[in-house]
Each structure stands twice: as C-alpha cells, then as structure tokens.
C-alpha cells in the first residue's frame, strides 16, 4: 500500500464540498422535476390516445346501434301474388301502394315517380315481406302491418347525421325527399328500435341491412380450428422442450426458431397459407378452416412460450416428490406438473386466441374478405371473420358503413375484453404462491 497518501495538507475540503453541493442542489432538483415532467407527459399522451381511440369509436359507432324503421299497412294483393309461385310475387308494388296512401299527390302508377317515394325503404323491405308471405301463405288477401328498415340516407337523416341546415345542393337528400320523410314521421310511421340486424344478419351491400352474423360465425369456426390445432401441438411441444428435451443443438435450434416465429410479421404467415394451403394442397379459398389453420401457425409460438413459463413455475420439489415414490417421468409430468400448470397454460392460450381473433392480414390473403351474404354453415363454407368484415366495411364508400364499422369494432373489442377478462380471472383464481 505504498501508493496511499493519506496526508493531504491544506484546509479541510469537506466544508467546501458541502457548500458546493448546496449551491448546485436547486438546479439538480429542477432537472429531476423536468425529467419527471417528461414522464408524466409521455404517459398522459399514451393514455389520451387510448381515450381518443375509444371515444371516437364510441361516438362514431353509437348511431349504428339503432336503425330507423318504417311501419306500413300492406295489403297483400292476391292479384300480385300467385300462390303457386310465392317467391315471384310483386312485393315491391304492394309496398309502393301502401306508401302511396301517405302521398296522394304522387302518381304511384308511374314507375319513376313511384321510385321517388319507395326509395325511402331499404331494398330489404320487399325481401322481408316476401319471406313473411312465403312462410304464411294465408296472409294473401289480408292487410298486415309490417315494420321494415328505412334506406341508409333516411336513416342518417333521422339520426341527424344528415343535417337539414346544410344547403340543399350539398345534401344527399333534397328538400322534397326530406318533406316526404317528415310526412311519414308526422303520421307516426317512423320508429328507431335497437339495430338487432347488426348481430342477426349477414353482410349486405346496403348498410341498413348489413350485419355481423356471418363474420361472427366465421370467426368462431376459425378460432375453433385454431384452438384444436395449436393447443395440443403447443402443449406437446412445450412439455417436450421443458421436461424431456436433452440440452443439445437441436433443442437450441428449436428454441431460437420458436422465438423467431413469434416475431415473424403476420402477413408472411398469410403468404405461407396462400402458397401452401391454397396453392399446393388445393384447399378452398375463404374457408374458416384454412383461416384457422393459418392462425394456428401464428398462435403456436405464443402457446408454447406461455406453457413453458407455466411448467417452469411448478417447483422442482413436486417433481422430486413424485419421482421419489416411483412414478415414471411421464407420470410425473401428466399426473402432477401438467395439472398444476394448467391455469397458466389456459391463460396463455386464451390470450393467444384473443390475438388470433383480432388478426386480419393473413386472412385477407386467403380470401376471407369475400362479399358473402349468408352465414357459413360449417368450416368449409366461404366466410368472413370479424376483423376482415371490419376491413371490408371500412373500405365501403356508403356513409352508413362508417358508423357500422365502428360498431363492428366495438363488437370485436367486446369479444376481446371478455376473453382477456376470463384470462385474468383464471390467473387470479388459480394463482399459487409456492
């Protein structure tokens, strides 16, 4: 220790230190406050973005929760319907006649002028009437009350999205059209019930008729397929890697590979599905089955990683205890470790499935953005999924689809929140402190 020179001469430096520190303190504390300010600002920005996101979706999706309907007294004219050819009846003429009773000044026999009145009704109105008559042919000759959806423009007028104050030339409805709507309204024919069609109908070109039934069922089949494939394979892979795999190059490669796969862009999985499932194996386009298989490939790494974490959390003492009473390694895993890890595995799986439910890009590439007006009856039928339906609607030019897109997003978010809530509930209920 020859290099120590403890004898420093001169004044005691301590007091100068204290003084210097005191002088700089205010400045230094100010710096820290600035740093904290940046932090608070950053968090405020992130949170306000979330609020704006949800807020704009709710305000724009809110109108789509109701739908303007028109109640009409329709005389099912025996002259228009041939009982032997019920579907071929002139149902739009009956509706026109019914509407005409409100507008004595309009010549309903002239097709063009009748059209100015009947376009208040949705194109789905005559289909609704037709279905009702086909179901109960005894209605022929009767006068029935039927409530049919109004066309999109009038729906928007009723909800105030088309404003009367707008100059006529910039408005999508002219003064005469608005006046006719007001006549119906004054007669008490207009109602605005809950838009159940949003859930119970399939897609349509007309916003007032479009619903999510097909997309929800398509998503259901795709998720079911995804679960049936990725859950067993993911658990099998995780158990092997965590409990049985020798520590060698191969298991290293598998490990790196799984981590990388989890970060491959989703659209690349779409390319894989398009080239392999559709191109090489000749599987059907737009089918939820293929969509589910594609999503399974993406969910697989998530489930493997979550399962391995859950298996790791089971303490070695459990394994040793079971091995100690003479269980085989597989009996240890399947009788003791796996059941204890199950809540963690299920939580990870649900979160993985929630991600898969929101995934869009790969489904676009395998054609799940087709325009399909009926709900699929099985996993082989062409269908859309919730996120691709949102994409289709977002791309549609009709004004009514804007609020329907937001409403569809709210439906999707509801599903996602429910799934995540289940995951959180599971995690908390079965959380175990070792």
């Amino acid at each position: 220790m020859t290099d120590t020179t403890p004898e420093t001469s001169g004044p005691n430096p301590s007091h100068s230190t204290t003084e210097m520190v005191r002088q700089s303190l205010a400045r230094r504390n100010r710096k820290q406050v600035v740093l904290q300010g940046f932090g608070v600002a950053a968090i405020a920005f992130a949170l306000s973005m979330l609020v704006i996101l949800v807020g704009s979706l709710v305000t724009s999706g809110y109108p789509a929760l109701t739908q303007t309907h028109v109640a009409l007294e329709v005389f099912v004219d025996p002259e228009e319907v041939d009982p032997d050819n019920l579907p071929g009846g002139g149902y739009d003429e009956m509706l026109a006649a019914s509407l005409g009773s409100y507008f004595p000044d309009v010549d309903m026999s002239d097709r063009a002028s009748a059209r100015t009145v009947t376009k208040i009704l949705s194109n789905g109105a005559q289909l609704q009437l037709r279905e009702q008559v086909i179901e109960t042919p005894s209605l022929i000759g009767e006068t029935i009350t039927i409530t049919v959806p109004a066309a999109d423009n009038y729906d928007q007028l009723n909800k105030g999205l088309i404003q009367r104050a707008t100059p006529e030339e910039n408005r999508r409805l002219n003064d005469a059209e608005i006046a006719r709507f007001d006549t119906l309204d004054a007669a008490g024919a207009i109602s605005t019930p809950l838009n159940t069609a949003l859930i119970t109908s399939a897609d349509s070109r007309f916003p007032e008729l479009a619903g999510l039934k097909g997309a929800i069922i398509g998503s259901f089949w795709a998720l079911l397929t995804c679960f049936l494939i990725s859950f067993p394979i993911g658990i099998g892979a995780a158990i092997y890697l965590e409990e049985f795999a020798p520590k060698n190059r191969l298991s290293d490669i598998i490990e790196i590979n799984i981590n990388n796969l989890a970060a491959v862009p989703s659209v690349v999985f779409g390319l894989l599905a398009l080239a392999v499932f559709l191109g090489w194996f000749g599987m059907p386009r737009s089918a939820p089955l293929v969509g589910g298989m594609t999503l399974a490939l993406m969910t697989l790494p998530t489930i493997i990683i979550a399962t391995r974490a859950a298996l790791k959390a089971v303490p070695p003492s459990i394994r040793e205890a079971a091995l100690g009473v003479g269980a085989s390694k597989q009996q240890v895993v399947f009788h003791h470790v796996l059941p204890l890890a199950m809540p963690g595995i299920l939580t990870g799986t649900i979160i993985g499935l929630a991600q898969a439910l929101g995934e869009t890009a790969p489904l676009l590439l395998i054609g799940m953005n087709a325009f399909i007006t009926s709900a699929p009856t099985g996993p082989f039928d062409s269908a859309t999924a919730l996120p691709t339906q949102i994409f289709i609607w977002a791309d549609s030019p009709e004004r009514g689809f804007v609020s329907r897109t937001s409403a569809a997003i709210l439906v999707l978010l509801t599903f996602l929140i429910t799934m995540n809530a289940i995951a959180i509930y599971l995690r908390q209920k079965f959380e175990r402190k070792w």
């Binding site: 892979a237 491959v264 862009p265 390319l271 804007v402």
Partner: protein, 458 residues
C-alpha cells in the same frame, strides 16, 4: 364421410383400449405377474391404432384435393387447354367444380357436364376408399396390438415411447412452419426472378405492378423496381419510432422510478390495453380520426397535405408500439441490480441523476433489443398501412406525402383472385421474402442482445 371415418377411428381406438386391458386383466387373474399395469396395455393398444390411422387420414385429406384434380385433368378431352394460360384453365376447372356443386349458370358444354359427373364420382370413390382404408388399417393394427399382450410385455415403456415421439413431433412442428415459410417464399420468389431481373427489383426506382392480366385489358406496362416501396416502409416506420421510442422510454423511466406505487399498478395494465387492440382497429382509427385531424391542422397553418399521409399511418403505428417499448424498457430497467441504484444514491446522486447516469445506461442493451423488436414490428405491420397509407409508390421521404409500404403492396397485389404465374402476384412473394429476411435478421440480432443482457445480471 370424413366424419364417419373419424367415428370409425374413435371406435377402433376405444375397442383397442378395452380389449387389451381386458386381456391383461385376465392374464393377471390367471395368477401371472404382469410387468405393466393393465391400463398401460390398453393405452398402448389405443395409441398404436390411433396415431398411425389419424396421421393417414390427415395426409389423405390434405392430398385428396390435388389428387382428384389431377385425375380430373387427365380425364378431360385432349387439347382442352391448348393455347390457354393458367388463369383461363383454372377458370375451366372452377366451372366444372361449380357444376358438380349444383350451381349451374346457363347451359354448359356437354363435356363440362360429363367432367362434373366424373368429378362427383371421383370424390365418392375417394370418400369410400378412405373409409375402407381406415377400417382395414385399424383392424390390422388392432390385431397387432392385441397380439402384444403378455406378462413380459413392457406396455408402459412402449406407450411412453409413443407419447414421447408425439411430443417430439409437436416440438419440431415449429421448425416445419419455418421451413414451410422459407420454401413457399423461395419457390415463388425464384419464379419471379425468372421473369424480372434481380437487379431491377432491388435497385429499380419505379414500381407499377398493375400489368394486364388479359389481352383486352388496358393497363400500364409493369415495372418492378422496389426501391420506392422500401423507402415508403422506411418513412412510415421512422415516423412510428419517432413517436413510440421517446414516449415509450419516458413512460418506462417514470413508471419504473418515480411513479407512486398505485399509479404504476394502474397505468401499466391500461398501457397493455393499447397493445391488445387489433391492428385493423388502429387502421380504422387512423382513417377515421387521425388523418382528418392532420389534414385539418395542416389546412389551418396553410400547408397542403396528401389525404393519406405517411404521418397519419406512422403516428398511429407509433401509438401501437408505445406499450411494446415501454414494457421492454421497464423490464430492462428493473433488471439492473439494486446495488447499482444504491451505489449511485449513496454518492449523493438525485434520483433523476441516478436514472439518467446509471440505471438507463446500464439498461441500454435490453432497451436496444426491445427497440429493434419494435422496428421489426413496424416494418411488418400490415393493417394500419393497408388502411391508412397510399397505394402509389413514390420516391419521397416527405412524411406529409402519401407513400406506400411493402406490406401494403403484398396485400393489394394478392387480394382478389390470384394465379401463380404472373409477375404481379409473384412480386408480392418477392416482397414477402425481403420482409421475412429483414425481420428475421433484426429479430435474431435483437433476441441475442436481450438474451446476453439477461445473462449479465443473472
């Protein structure tokens, strides 16, 4: 038919289990000591029937479509496809299939109707063949499994070997997926580079992939220089990172060191919500709210901007990446040992100085790893740019202009009917290849950094 094959298999499996179990029980009842428990004899039998037959059914289902198509093509009259490109011949096959499916439009040529009937027959033969094969193979395996039962047979070891094999197969499934991606992309990319020279794709500055598919279509001559597409992706990703990195890092710093405990436990899950929102929702948010807001703001200060600016897509993508970066940075900061914090504080550092001079630099490797993963997310992100960015490839780095991106081109080129032999479709795969390679390298690099970083402080 498929269902009945599965039911048949299920029945055979259960039968195998109970037969063997019963046989083992009767051996034991005869007073002989068994090597394995009876249920393992049953399990072994069940697995030996289930696994091979199930694998057979799945392979059959995968290959059936292609096989039937091949037979159908062979049965068509000579010269049907002479002078037709693959798009047109696919149309013919599709028409035959729709006739077979009962959807007839107009009066099809009689040879098509005949072909449709043949197709139906082939399908029927295939179905019956499958059921028959399942029945036969299940019976053979059942007989084999039954013959194994004996006092000395190590049923537990054998059954566990099968289970272990199954689990190994599952573990390698992930590798098969990667191999599948590499093969699919390489195969189509090579086809693309046979049509378009590699150098033009990589260095060309003009991207106009809309070439005529049919003779009578009028469209621009195709050009496949991908530089402007790459540039667009870079511009949008840069905007995204300029939003996400500072906001993410600052929130992580605040939450990690300064935030009161209750605020931290409230804010973290809320930030996670941002990460859980599907990207299609962000895309719509960009179109519905952010892009109009930017346009309006630009108008008030008198700047003319494109309707779908890189700024709108990029900033919304940035919001999506905030929780990603902040949780990575938070983890990295928390991984710095407490002794370093104590060391700095004991020297008289303020908490801010401790954070900026000691904790943050010590956590940088982990943070860089997280930021790199965010970069790879940004360039691979699809829905936000598909909905909010442009379609036209421009050589510009102006974020107020409309630019396109690699993923946008992939999706727009492949939406709708696709055939695999024109450069328009194939170029999407070439772009996909570039995207895959770029993200792969970034990911491997980032994961390595993160892993190394964890090792330092473990």
């Amino acid at each position: 038919m498929v269902l009945s094959a599965f039911l048949l298999l299920l029945g055979a499996t259960l039968l195998a289990y109970f037969l063997n179990r019963k046989a083992a029980i009767s051996i034991r009842a005869g007073g002989t000591q068994l090597h394995s428990l009876e249920s393992f004899h049953g399990l072994f039998a069940a697995l030996s029937v289930l696994v091979p037959v199930l694998a057979g059914i799945l392979i059959w289902l995968v290959l059936r479509g292609s096989a039937v198509d091949w037979f159908l093509l062979q049965s068509l009259p000579e010269g049907t496809f002479d002078g037709l490109d693959s798009g047109a011949s696919q149309l013919i096959v599709a028409e035959i299939k729709s006739i077979a499916g009962g959807r007839v439009f107009g009066t099809p040529d009689p040879w098509k109707t005949e072909a449709a009937e043949r197709l139906l027959r082939y399908n029927e033969i295939a179905d019956w063949a499958m059921v028959a094969l399942v029945a036969i193979s299940a019976a053979v395996l059942l007989w084999f499994a039954r013959s194994t039962v004996g006092a000395q047979f190590r049923a537990r070891q054998s059954a566990e070997r099968i289970v272990l094999g199954l689990m190994m197969f599952c573990a390698t499934a992930a590798i098969f997926v990667t191999i599948g991606i590499v093969f699919a992309l390489t195969f189509e990319t090579i086809k693309f580079f046979q049509i378009v020279p590699f150098t033009e794709f990589l260095f060309g500055t003009s991207w106009e992939p809309q070439i005529p598919i049919r003779e009578d279509q009028v469209a621009a001559e195709g050009a496949f220089g991908a530089v402007p597409v790459f540039l667009g992706t870079i511009v949008i990703s840069t905007v995204a990172l300029l939003v996400a990195v500072p906001v993410g890092l600052m929130s992580a710093i605040y939450l990690n060191e300064f935030a009161p405990h209750r605020l931290r436990s409230a804010v973290k899950p809320v930030l996670e919500i941002l990460a859980g929102v599907p990207t299609v929702v962000y895309g719509f948010f960009a179109v519905l709210t952010v892009a109009p807001a930017i346009r309006q703001f630009a108008a008030t200060i008198g700047v003319d901007v494109a309707p779908n600016t890189a700024l709108a897509a990029g900033s919304v993508m940035g919001v999506m990446l905030i929780p990603f970066i902040s949780s990575f940075a938070d983890d990295a900061l928390s991984a710095v040992p407490r002794s370093l914090r104590d060391g700095a504080l004991a020297l008289g550092a303020t908490r801010g100085e401790m954070m900026l001079n000691v904790l943050f630099p010590a956590a940088i490797p982990g943070i860089v790893g997280g930021v790199l993963l965010a970069v790879s997310r940004a360039i691979g992100e699809t829905m936000i740019v598909v909905m909010a960015a442009g379609l036209i490839a421009k050589m510009t780095i102006n974020p107020l202009d409309s630019v396109t991106a690699v993923t946008v081109q992939i999706v727009t080129l492949l939406i709708g009917d696709t055939s695999f032999d024109n450069p328009k479709t194939l170029s999407a795969f070439a772009l996909g290849m570039m995207l895959f390679l770029a993200t792969l390298f970034i990911n491997i690099f980032a994961l390595r950094i993160v892993r190394k970083y964890r090792e330092i402080y473990d």
